[in-house]
Symmetry: C2
Subunit: 357 residues, 2 copies
Amino acid sequence: MDKPKLFTVGPTYVNEDVREEMKRQMFSHRSSDYVKLHSELIEKLREFLNTENEIFIYTSSSTGCMESGVRNMISDSGTGLSTICGAFGKRFGEIIEQNGRKLVESEVEWGEANRGEQLDEVLSKNPGVEVVTITHCETSTGLLNPLDELCKVAKEHDVLTMVDTVSSMSGTRIEIDKLGIDFCFFGVQKCFSVPPGLAIAVVSKKAMEKAETVKNRGHYFDFLNLKKYNDKNMIPYTPPIPQMFGLSKQLDMIIDEGAGNRFYRHSKISARVRNGCKDLGFGVFPDEKYAAPTLSCISNPLEVDLAEMNSKMKERGFILASGYGKIKDTTFRIGNMGNVTLDDVNEMLENLEEVVG
Amino acid sequence: MDKPKLFTVGPTYVNEDVREEMKRQMFSHRSSDYVKLHSELIEKLREFLNTENEIFIYTSSSTGCMESGVRNMISDSGTGLSTICGAFGKRFGEIIEQNGRKLVESEVEWGEANRGEQLDEVLSKNPGVEVVTITHCETSTGLLNPLDELCKVAKEHDVLTMVDTVSSMSGTRIEIDKLGIDFCFFGVQKCFSVPPGLAIAVVSKKAMEKAETVKNRGHYFDFLNLKKYNDKNMIPYTPPIPQMFGLSKQLDMIIDEGAGNRFYRHSKISARVRNGCKDLGFGVFPDEKYAAPTLSCISNPLEVDLAEMNSKMKERGFILASGYGKIKDTTFRIGNMGNVTLDDVNEMLENLEEVVG
């Protein structure tokens, strides 16, 4: 790993091979060269994501996908329900409202997981809800929500699911088709370790059918227009070709590693981070039963000066992530997404011990 | 110039230095390193664009900027007027409608320019219009609209202006502040010769004030949110850091070349392309008084088999652009955006003569 060593929660460290691949000379996005790149990328994504659903390439960050899901899947004056356990779930709800749809919230305390039982109750009280948003990995609290039970409840109520897999996809197994996820999305700069500028969404047939009935879909994020071009292995507007090359290369490496190996690696390393931090007297912020396998949110019962700690770690070449949102000053975060190895984490923990010791 | 030689209309040929710059290792977009990159880029853009207006960085293509302008500058049930002389002006109007706003069109035949007199007439008949869209360089017909007279008329009617400078910015002088343009935008993959994935918009104080009165601005393209983060030298969501490095590097080279030299170079080379094509018996599709300085749309009175011609040129290493939209089969286009030199064009024309001779 290059110095400085990135334990951020995205953008994450990018391999030399991927960055080299992104150096290619440009060509027209209406050429046969582009069609080849697009179709190969979709094919590799389909293999790795193990889905039969439509796969869209977005020239945007993941936040753009959130806007796209909201505009295509909730009727003009319809209602979305946001399950919230941190900053990113909260923001998903705000995006629903900012796009003129009605919002119902199903919220728990930061650090707790959204659970099926509560979702069931809120959906029962709000029969008009069309779509449920789920933040799979809540990056602000380092928590992984139980996708299986939340999707099950959503299906029982016959509402569509939009799942934010931004900081979980490729770091843990997500059975898109089996769980019946209607719309899930991620940026490439987290567990995929590609520079930012490109987002991917996976869209079910039901979600596509719903979009046909929604008027206020806009232009840029319109499912129907994206589908029309996707059928020709293109996108409606100019795509970020360098990141597409980068992701294509990275997917080769990911498929080589093997999905199971990759998920196990993330899980083992994040456990090492949490245990190492607890050994130093820190705590784990979220309910540890739901601790995320891709980043750790660490609480500070020691009342260490976290700004000073992060700054000293940076001097030693280790970049950790600050807390986020309302727990910004009382927690810090350590990402282990993508290329981070167990050796990297051990070295980082040794240094952390010296810094706070 | 690398083989193949790109005379496309974007993405355009990218210098080795710029591609090398894009290889940098990633870092957090909430770090001081990012703030430095963002602020330096805004500063260089401000110098080159010579504007006091707000400069936004978009994680999108230019089409995203169109959606942003429409959603922020036209009231929820307000009306936009689109001046149309080709495919991209037409699409701008469609984006207005797809976002639930009303549309008035001021259209001329493909190949003709939108003129102030007609705009004045249409605006007089439609006093409710809030915003006029202008396609500065209409890429489908290779035509540069007279921005000065169109902006003057818009101001006389006290309507805001949204100007598509996608294939003109940095290829010809655009006096944003002097003309009083309220919103103009471009992608980096045309005359700036940076790989695609990043778009820039310049927003007037009046446009910002208008946005405050518009409800349905959404989230991803919201001026007010973009401004809030821009004030901290950040953007609300993850930006395409490699393209930002590329653009920053390219702006150094552009500023070194000098704006006047750069504009003169584009103008001289496009005239050479048109004259060279006329010498071979081709025609110039648009009214030549308004021919664009950044690309040429060439008509085919010779009835050469254009697909075969383009294919033979490709074999020789020269990539030309096909026609677009309803003149797809009867025209072809030759871009001279960004890094194309007079020597490149002369070599290309010699080969074209051999291919069609």
